[in-house]
């Protein structure tokens, strides 16, 4: 293996650099779609027997767990069983070095009677957060996923249903190899040209509607009307094709059916003009992936406003330009979801209190409710206030832990999106930056847990420390 790669690695790197340049030139740069809460997977990815949908950040954390389990199995199998055995090198050795280094590190801070428990907690949190943070560096995470109409879904607690809110229109772009990308080129037509063409389309559609009305009065000449209306349909179609530069024949089948169809066609055209004009000075959303299914979205909140925009259009038809299309990544970085960071913070908080009670027994509570000196010393009131402040401060730790990790990693992934958009050929210095931010945040999270756990084991009555140690 090693001899095979000797001297070839630089060519692999060069090849990947060239591939990066090719992709950067071939796929137009686009502004990513950013959402703070984890995106719900579509229908069919529910938690078994419930209505609750899984999220892509959850998929990310499942991957983290599986990786961690594999590491645990690997390390415990490769570990030398006796002191005489020579430890294996390579990948295993990395873990041994990591554990040894961090053991000394934590031992210097929290090396006491409870070192084992504290170190276990430290190492678990460190590895989980580290793996979760580093997921943002993996290609495909955050960028490859389902392409679907952009609807905002909100879980309504009262009705127990997912309510759908649509937003404004964007377009889907057919790429090569059957892979589509959303809004690959936003400004493929200048806004002025587009507006002019849309005006023409609108006039055309109104003419079609007027013709349909007139024709409906003349019942006797129905057959003749049909022939004439068919011509009308073709005319609008040809102006459409010239107006937006895309050959399309989605409307030719619709037109020429009845009075109501003509009116609806008029409405669609008017809506299309509105959507296109709104789109002219807006940025684009992006992503890469297969276009999967016709979504079954129900319950549009803004149904009155967007009546003529189809909620589940054919991705390849003209209608698809009326609805926004975005990528729902298969996997998103778990640390960018508040659910993950807050639950880790809660675990850390519970462990801090647990080790406090374990070390000091019920006396641990005097840290918070310190009424012992209230009547003994003139400054007893201050002790009570300090204790209550400690209580509030302990709960504030949950928020502080959770938001620190979330903010850092979410901001980091946005940085990566934006830099990939601004400098698509050379975003990798920021990947190196995020590599280090991931390590530092994992270390800070774990280290703060270790330090607070260590603090909780120390009685704050320094003078009667020994009494406590002997009593428990």
């Amino acid at each position: 293996m090693n001899s095979f790669w000797n001297g070839k690695r630089r060519f692999v790197a060069l090849l990947m650099l060239l591939a990066g340049v090719f992709v950067a030139l071939r796929v137009p740069p686009v502004i990513p779609f950013i959402q703070l809460p984890g995106e719900n997977f579509p229908e069919g990815f529910n938690v078994p027997f419930t209505d609750i949908r899984l999220t892509n950040t959850f998929a990310g954390s499942v991957i983290v767990w599986i990786l961690l389990l594999l590491f645990v199995i690997y390390v415990s199998r490769r570990r030398p069983k006796s002191g005489n055995e020579v430890p294996p090198g390579g990948f295993y050795n990395m873990f041994e070095a990591l554990f040894e280094g961090l053991m000394g590190f934590v031992g210097g801070i929290a090396g006491g009677r409870h070192f084992r428990l504290i170190f276990n907690m430290f190492m678990t949190i460190f590895l989980v957060v580290l793996l979760a943070n580093w997921m943002e560096l993996v290609p495909g995470v955050d960028t490859v996923g389902f392409i679907h109409p952009h609807v905002k879904e909100k879980y309504d607690v009262d009705s127990g249903e997912y309510k759908v809110i649509t937003t404004d229109g964007y377009e889907i772009y057919q790429g090569f190899l059957g892979i589509s990308y959303v809004n690959g080129q936003c400004d493929w037509i200048s806004p002025a040209d587009e507006a002019a063409a849309d005006e023409a389309a609108l006039v055309e559609a109104k003419a079609a509607a007027a013709a349909a009305e007139q024709a409906s009065i003349e019942d006797a000449a129905y057959a003749r009307y049909q022939a004439a209306h068919g011509e009308h349909g073709e005319e609008t179609d040809s102006t459409d094709a010239s107006s937006d530069g895309h050959g399309d024949d989605a409307h030719s089948s619709e037109s020429g059916e009845s009075d109501a169809a003509a009116a609806a066609y008029d409405e669609v055209l008017a809506a299309r003009v509105a959507a296109k004009q709104a789109r002219a000075d807006r940025s684009c959303y992006t992503g890469v992936g297969p276009v999967p299914w016709a979504d079954d979205y129900v319950g549009d909140d803004k149904a009155d406003k967007k009546k003529s925009i189809p909620l589940h259009p054919d991705p390849r038809g003209e209608e698809a330009k009326l609805v926004p299309w975005v990528v729902l990544p298969f996997v998103r970085v778990p640390s960018t979801d508040l659910n993950m960071t807050l639950s880790l913070a809660l675990i850390s908080f519970v462990m801090i209190q647990f080790i406090g009670f374990k070390a000091l027994g019920i006396g641990y509570l005097t840290k918070f409710f310190n009424f012992g000196t209230l009547f003994k010393s003139p400054l007893g009131g201050i002790d009570v206030a300090v204790g209550l402040l400690e209580l509030i401060g302990d709960f504030a730790k949950i928020l502080s832990f959770g938001f620190r990790l979330l903010g850092n990693i979410f901001a980091g992934s946005i940085l990566l999106f934006v830099m990939s958009f601004l400098v698509p050929i050379l975003p990798w210095p920021f990947f190196i930056l995020e590599f280090f931010v991931g390590v530092i945040q994992a270390l800070v999270f774990a280290l703060l847990t270790a330090i607070f756990m260590n603090l909780a084991t120390v009685s704050h009555h320094h003078d009667d420390d020994h009494d406590h140690a002997e009593a428990h």
């Binding site: 959402q35 809460p37 502080s400 938001f403 620190r404 850092n408 901001a411």
Partner: protein
């Protein structure tokens, strides 16, 4: 000005104002690292201890800036 533009304007101004809080974090980190580097220069033997405490202090100071960041992210991406 149509309502949608007004909303975007308000969001942008609010998010920008929220990020003023990051200045405090920056000052704090600067002070902490400056002090730590001076201390390390005076007694290099204690570099390891000082470094650990410095990273902790930086993390605490940074947390304040991160709160501001989270507020502005919520304004930008969650409020609708």
């Amino acid at each position: 000005m149509d309502p949608q533009s007004t909303i975007i304007l308000g969001k942008a101004i609010g998010a920008g104002l929220a990020m003023i809080g990051a200045a405090g974090g920056g000052i704090g980190i600067g002070l902490a690292v400056g002090g730590a580097v001076q201390a390390m220069g005076r007694n290099p033997d204690h570099t390891a201890t000082i470094q650990v405490n410095m990273i902790l202090g930086v993390a605490f100071a940074e947390a304040v800036a991160i709160y501001a960041l989270v507020v502005s992210l919520i304004i930008l991406f969650v409020l609708s």
